[in-house]
């Protein structure tokens, strides 16, 4: 009876403490976990890898600090891929909160490449290789407006430069010059790109989403409306694996390092659900006997 009571009444603080321990310890002593790359991630990787030289890629940063640990590694890995392949890159956000995260990711990845560069050709140069368009509210305006003219929607970039003076923008006028848009988001923006930009203007869309919201995005992947999809920390780790293995780009793999924490956290939750159910079954059996 005593064991039954213990099983049924574990103090929530004990659960919190155990969970905290298994999450924090692997982060303090990180090790990179190898992952098997699943088809949705491979599809997105190939979609980006096959962007023709005359076309561009748009990355839509639409996540806030809450979901940054899960989505930041995706952004970093995709940026590394795009810069390594020298894809013409535009970065934007449909909301104001993600701007800081987007700028941080751009600064770090550009620095990684430029610190190893020998010449100007090897370097990643703002305005020539990428442009940070910033934010124009409300979301529907850039989504629809960029079909006509990107510089008309974003007259100045995030840093206040006139976009029509930037060399890259002379090569990219509208969606006709864009091969793919990747929306990295913790909410609905990937669906908006499909609903407004893809259905009407034929823009190809890829998505990077949080694990908790993944189930509602799978129909878009199955129909081919998404050219590929990264789901949560695991999706980010798979993309990191692809970038490192295929492109030999060596950089810190934050998602792969965090997978051990995630594994232990999932196991702890499963164990607690099992413990809770054992207590439930024993109690139910005892009631039936009585």
């Amino acid at each position: 009876m005593k064991i039954l009571d213990i099983l049924n009444n574990i103090d929530r603080r004990i659960i919190y403490l155990i969970l905290l321990t298994v999450v924090v310890l692997p982060l303090i002593f990180p090790s990179v976990e190898k992952v098997r790359v699943m088809p949705p991630v491979r599809k997105l990787y190939e979609a980006i890898d096959n962007i023709p030289p005359e076309k561009g890629l748009i990355i839509d940063f639409d996540y806030e600090p809450q979901t940054a640990p899960e989505l930041d590694p995706m952004s970093f890995a995709i940026l590394r891929h795009a810069f390594h392949r020298r894809i013409k890159l535009l970065v934007l956000s449909l909301y104001v909160q993600p701007l800081g995260l987007a700028q941080n990711a751009l600064t770090q990845v550009v620095e990684e490449f430029n610190s190893a560069a020998q010449t100007s050709e090897d370097s990643i140069i703002y305005g020539r290789d990428y442009v940070f368009l910033g934010w124009v509210p409300p979301p529907i305006i850039p989504i629809l407006g960029m079909a006509e003219s990107i510089t008309n929607v974003y007259r100045v970039d995030y840093y206040g430069n006139q976009t029509d003076t930037l060399p890259l923008m002379a090569q990219i006028e509208n969606y006709n010059d864009i091969d793919l848009l990747v929306s990295i988001s913790g909410a609905d923006p990937p669906k908006w790109w499909v609903a407004y930009a893809q259905s009407r203007f034929g823009l190809r869309v890829g998505a990077g989403i949080t694990a908790v919201s993944a189930s509602e995005f799978y129909p878009y992947l199955q129909t081919g409306q998404f050219s590929g999809m990264l789901v949560g920390m695991k999706g980010a780790a798979e993309y990191e694996e692809m970038v490192e293995r295929k492109l030999e780009v060596k950089a810190r793999r934050k998602a792969s390092e965090a997978l051990l924490s995630l594994t232990y956290a999932h196991l702890v939750i499963i164990i607690f659900i099992v413990i809770g159910n054992i207590g439930y079954f024993i109690r139910r059996r005892d009631r039936r006997k009585q």
Partner: protein, 220 residues
């Protein structure tokens, strides 16, 4: 007139929003481009001001009437005013007319973002893991066949999406992916169709003036 004019506006702009999807004529497309790029942008600026005004009004009213948790409304108003003043006059990086440095202490928008917004946001979301673990332990019971199926699917997906799944069985990740690709998509698509039809019906009712509750006054 007070009700008829908004109804006419909704009807006209509702129809104007639909037509360009079906009529490729340059006149329609150019008009639509003007609406999207110029008109909508001006409208959005007004909507932003209205939205912020409404937010403040709701919280001021809450404080006046001392409704539940009214104290938090003060926090919202004070932080709203402080960040607005700093943002408008101090600039994002502290390059505006308002000084945003006292000694070594900086309080420009960029600093506030990285030192307040980011940690607060991360903390709020991180707490979810603890609540979920505790709630799953207390509430996730195998009481019926449906609950058993749900639990089994949850365990397979939870383990299958991790590197551990591959070590348990090389088929487990593929099986977890199959659960997401097939049964999940089937369910989600049903929900999606239902929601889409509901949205379509509601939109048509609003455009045609059948649904008028958005005008206020309980739809009368």
């Amino acid at each position: 007139m007070k009700k008829t004019f908004p109804l006419i506006l909704v009807f006209v702009f509702g129809i104007l929003g639909i037509i360009p999807f079906f009529v490729p004529h340059p006149f329609i497309q150019n008009s639509d481009e003007f609406l999207r790029n110029e008109f909508l942008r001006i409208l959005a600026a007004f909507a932003l001001v209205l939205g912020l005004g409404s937010l403040l009004r709701v919280h001021i009213d809450k404080i006046k009437r001392k409704r539940e948790n009214w104290q938090y409304s003060w926090i919202l108003i004070i932080t709203f005013v402080i960040s607005s003043v700093i943002g408008l006059f101090g600039g994002v990086r502290g390059t505006g007319i308002l000084p945003t440095t006292i000694g070594t202490f900086q309080f420009d928008i960029w600093t506030i973002y990285w030192n307040v917004a980011v940690p607060l946001g991360s903390t709020m979301f991180a707490l979810l893991a603890f609540f979920m673990a505790s709630a799953a332990y207390r509430a996730f019971r195998v009481r019926s066949t449906e609950a058993t199926l749900l639990l089994a699917a949850a365990f397979i997906v939870m383990i299958g999406v991790l590197p551990l799944g591959d070590r348990v069985s090389p088929h487990l990740p593929s099986f977890a992916q199959w659960i997401m690709d097939v049964p999940n998509v089937a369910g989600q698509r049903g929900i999606l169709f239902g929601v889409a039809l509901g949205v379509l019906a509601t939109a048509l009712k609003i455009i045609l003036g059948i649904e008028r509750s958005w005008l206020g006054g309980g739809g009368k």
